[in-house]
């Protein structure tokens, strides 16, 4: 099977014009096969870019990309529930479920499942594929042994995040608001100040995590460029790039060149470092180590 590059949903609160222009450029220039669009983190953000949604999807589809609509990871009130039901009820869309409620709503027709649904073993994966899941982006903490076992035992296309800050936790509480002495209900959308997340350091000034509204992410950027060949041997063929403010067209090109064996992983790391400056990479989960480690 040919390897596919995918672009995960924008997880940060980007201004609507930036959000639209990002996807337009992806449509025009990025060598990715699939693009996920839609709000996975905070339902308060979606209304701002919603007016651009139809145009963005059309542009991406017009450019030959497969488009999948991502949905919210934590659904807690009637408004969020109704919005999810609307999205799931649109038979023309391919939808990615990020909560079990969405899996239930999408059952019986082909759909995708995202990394926020706990699929840790063959039994759970089989349960969902029997009900229509055709693409599953697996939880970030699974190691190579787990990925291999799942890939050996499924008809679904499996996907793994290979680039970008790792989504580590989701909460009812907004830590961006809390960092600014605000409450979630009156957050003033302060998360838009940090388009790659708000850096969280230890008391010893060591970078550790990144806050993205109600989501907590790794400070480090997942970088599985050196593991792409092994992932394919294990039976994983979809590789997710999670969007950041770095030039994602260039990032996609790096990963494409590794897949095409036009770059070694060392050359890829050099190129990524040149693009991103002084960032930390991690790949520990894949190797069964701490998630933060870069083995």
């Amino acid at each position: 099977m040919n390897a596919k590059l995918t672009l995960g949903p924008v997880l940060f609160n980007w201004k609507p014009d930036r959000w639209r222009d990002f996807y337009y450029r992806i449509a025009d220039e990025a060598d990715v096969d699939t693009v996920y669009v839609g709000e996975a983190v905070c339902s308060k953000r979606a209304p701002f870019y919603a007016p651009h949604m139809v145009d963005v999807i059309e542009r991406l589809q017009g450019a030959g990309k497969e488009v999948i609509v991502s949905t919210l990871a934590l659904i807690m009130n009637g408004r969020e529930m109704n919005e999810l039901r609307d999205t799931a009820g649109d038979a023309d869309l391919m939808v990615e479920a990020n909560d079990v409620s969405a899996c239930a709503l999408l059952a019986g027709r082909p759909h995708a499942i995202g990394p926020y649904v706990n699929i840790y073993n063959e039994g759970t994966l089989k349960y969902f594929t029997e009900r229509g899941a055709t693409r599953v982006c697996l939880p970030v903490e699974l190691n190579r042994t787990a990925l291999a076992a799942l890939a050996a035992d499924t008809t679904a296309e499996l996907e793994v995040q290979v680039f970008g800050r790792l989504p580590l936790a989701i909460s009812a509480r907004c830590y961006h608001a809390r960092a600014h002495m605000l409450h979630k209900d009156n957050c003033q959308f302060v998360c838009e100040q940090d388009p790659d997340g708000l850096e969280v350091d230890t008391l010893d000034h060591e970078p550790f995590l990144a806050v993205n509204g109600v989501q907590t992410m790794s400070y480090s950027y997942q970088n599985l460029s050196a593991e792409l060949a092994e992932l394919q041997n294990l039976g994983i063929h979809h590789f997710r790039l999670s969007p950041h403010t770095v030039d994602m067209v260039a990032v996609a090109e790096v990963y494409r060149h590794i897949l095409d064996r036009a770059l070694t992983s060392d050359e890829a790391d050099e190129k990524l470092t040149a693009l991103m400056g002084d960032v930390a990479f991690s790949n520990g989960y894949f190797h069964g180590a701490k998630g933060v480690d870069f083995v």
């Binding site: 239930a104 840790y120 903490e141």
Partner: protein, 329 residues
Amino acid sequence: MSKVLELVCPAGTPASLHAAVENGADAVYLGFRDETNARNFPGLNFSRNELEQGLDFAHAQDCQVFLAVNTFPETGNPGPWRKAVDDAAALGVDCVILADIGLLDYAATHHPALRRHLSVQASASNPDSINFYVDAFDVKRVVLPRVLSVPEIKTLNAHINVETEVFVFGGLCVMAEGRCQLSSYATGQSPNINGVCSPASHVRYEDEGDRMVSKLGDFTINAFAPNEAAGYPTLCKGRFVADGKASYLFEEPTSLNAASMLPELSAAGVTALKIEGRQRGRAYVAQVVAAFRRAADAVAAGETPPALGLEAITEGQAKTSGAYDKTWR
């Protein structure tokens, strides 16, 4: 007189089970001594034999026994989790508390008569998710994630047809349970897979003379003055620096105490109250269970819950109502 809220109490050891039963628990919850439950700490939990004895003791006093099998089975190794469910059925526990969909499917298929509760680790926070678990696996009760306010719980109960259980006291997860990888990011040990969060095996305290530093893995989680008590470095209760300011960014080292909210929780349609603390000793369990027994009985009699007198045993001497109060967010 309104209905009596059921008290579901922690039993990390046989001694704690006795303490909970003797002080008025309606049910105790416990786990086997392995990675199949979310409190897989050294020195805790039950062997099969201990569970059998615990069942005899609890049932003789009309107290139910719930078995938590609430981690997510490892790939390629469903055996320990399935055996935990099989043994629960064979030994006659009153219900199993499950989170993994594959395991729920196994339990519903192989042991349809064994009552199933949905663990908080499943993070079922909305009617469509809860109704899915009810329809697919016939779960009889859902332990609600600690992310909902009391009005949200009331609305939720109006849209589902299943019992709900809520946490009222003890350690507080500030993230949606079962959906947090912070501990495995720092230590490699995962609550979902290994049943441990911020494990003691990865904790260090370093005396630097002018301060005592607590670490989890390689990361400093907090620092204390020499005469200050150094708290346990649970990751989300640490102090961190964001925007140049050091603070308890995620949560202060507080305990949940929703005792004053029992009348509202009862009015919101909740069936059962859960006390956290399987890692706690028998004296703690006895004191907390006795206090909540008085409170639950008072609420059932239409009285205001009495002061519980538990301030001295709450972590950091501070308490919070958590997400039950919407301003917590």
